[in-house]
Symmetry: C2
Subunit: 336 residues, 2 copies
């Protein structure tokens, strides 16, 4: 049965025999653990390089009770998964994992179905898990806690003792909003996504906090959460315009690009007729005309950081409960 596709599958035993030494010596030479003669080590190292020997991580893993795999959990609904954010994040995770000779196993979850993640974890296929996003009612987190698998979340959560890597969305949204207020804008509308996503709630709070601080009024009529489809965005935009909004605050790149498209269709000019800003910048917006005021984060950095943190946990190194990565406010012509 087995799968012998690499015919010259050379094992540690082959190396040991060829060199007339024991397997354990070869193992020591490679791992650097334990004492070993300098000359012996060099002999082994040069032999394996020449013969292109690579230790089999499956066997290594079995003996060490490791898998050398990390599970990257991404949302399965394609409206989400197509966002550049997840791609970038994952790229960071892949890079950081590769550096430690680890690989990434895909875990696909839906808002209400984490069976795929469960299969992977309960099958012992991974040493740890990185959650790509957090929900308010997140099935994954309690499951991961209960299963005792080490994990870190990208995003924030109220669950206790969860290691979190996030950008400081509250501070960022607060800051961007404050700046726009100082520039004289008084009537805002907020177009937001799924309020079951922690990040969306946080952004809303940062936004509202700035308004409150600067004593700018807003009613619930100008806050449009749960805009999941283009139609939702369209409706929100229409209402906001009717209500006299001066500036549309879009909660993320997807919503902002839908809003821009809607405004273009209606031949409403930015920024002359309406100003617009986004709480998340990405290539969906970056080559728009006019340029869009937005908050800039580095999702790849988030992925790298999450993965490195997970390795620290796996290695028994103490880590911070919550790391907040920085952001940048980019003021562009859409709010001039």
């Amino acid at each position: 049965m087995g799968n012998e596709y690499i015919e010259d599958k050379v094992t540690i035993e082959d190396v040991a025999n060829a060199l007339g030494i024991s397997k354990s010596t070869v193992s020591r030479a490679i791992s650097g653990k334990g004492r070993i003669g300098k000359e012996t080590r060099e002999r082994v190292l040069s032999y394996i390089k020449e013969h292109n020997y690579k230790p089999n991580p499956i066997a290594k893993g079995l003996s060490e009770s490791k898998t050398y795999n990390i599970c990257w959990v991404a949302p399965g609904d394609s409206s989400m998964t197509a966002l550049p954010f997840f791609q970038r994040c994952m790229a960071g995770v892949v890079d950081a994992a590769s550096a430690e000779n680890y690989d990434i196993l895909m875990g696909v979850v839906y808002d209400d179905n984490i069976s795929h993640l469960k299969r992977i974890v309960s099958n012992h296929k991974v040493d740890g898990v990185i959650l790509g996003r957090t929900l308010i009612n997140d099935e994954s987190i309690p499951y991961l806690i209960e299963s005792k698998v080490p994990f870190v979340a990208i995003g924030s959560t109220d669950y206790k003792d969860v290691v979190q890597i996030d950008n400081d969305h509250f501070k960022a949204c607060n800051e961007l909003t404050s700046i726009l207020i100082m520039k004289g804008i008084k009537r805002f509308a907020l177009i937001g996504g799924d309020s079951n996503h922690v990040v969306n709630r946080t952004r809303r709070e940062g936004f509202l906090h700035a308004l409150k601080e600067q004593k700018i009024d807003i009613t619930d009529d100008d806050i449009f959460m749960n805009c999941l489809s283009d139609e939702d965005v369209e409706r929100a935009t229409d209402t906001a315009l009717r209500n006299g909004a001066e500036c549309l605050m879009c909660m993320d790149d997807g919503i902002c690009s839908a809003t821009i498209a809607k405004l273009k269709r209606d031949e409403i000019s930015i920024p002359e007729d309406i100003k617009i800003a986004s709480f998340y910048n990405s290539e969906l917006l970056s080559n728009n005309q006019p340029t869009i005021t937005a908050l800039q984060y580095d999702p790849k950095e988030l992925g790298i950081n999450a993965c490195k943190t997970l390795f620290d946990i796996l290695n028994g190194i103490e880590v911070e409960q919550k790391v907040m990565l920085s952001y940048e406010v980019q003021l562009k012509s859409s709010t001039q």
Copy 2:
């Protein structure tokens, strides 16, 4: 060291001891291979269900020389990876793999750098590979052939003996173009992407073949390949319009949505001022106004098919060298 996160990590030996039988009997009960008493099997099965025992695939794999992992190879350049196509395809692969208790390992390649794929394959981390797309000058394919790992490609290639799953882009593009010609369109322009991608060349050929068959002229001045950025698309569109094109044929969803955006910016109406069609439909286009004439494929089906084919190969079942999945021509208002 090891990673004992599941405290109640129950092994086949525990099960055997608890039941007062041997490991091999338990193994047989689970796998169904070999002879075993009906009563014994049921005793085992009910015990493992109750105690939630799951065989460790790492150990199983070591003993069978299998990994129970498949490598999904996706392009790393984010302009590509963000396309819904790859997400959908991968979703299909994940589903089909899960059904066989297999998992998906991410392999990220760049046009000129397949080191990540090499690491995964040479480390024996996967039983097979699924290539998400094919290039004209594809480093991955010769590498995979040489390494002797079983693989299937989504897309077409001229390399010999490669198992390929594809949509019939030539036929589809030929058909769509022919229909538009019959509707009276005489002046076409083609806006296309990277000509190092096999699919882009094939689409161009299908398009040109229809023109030739129906004796419609086109010059190289109206064929714009390698439009990789929005600026490229913009320039191509401008030139095509200046040359008097009646209909812009866009090679994929990304290019088409860039073209539409450009036309909107310039306040050029579809289909009054210019008609437009896409050789690939996706949600990037599907809720556009006006609706867009396009070819519809099912990328998830492609992924499922590729994965099932790979399993056939792994199981020594003979497979077809090349499978062509169907498509649908959707005539909408953009070409009225």
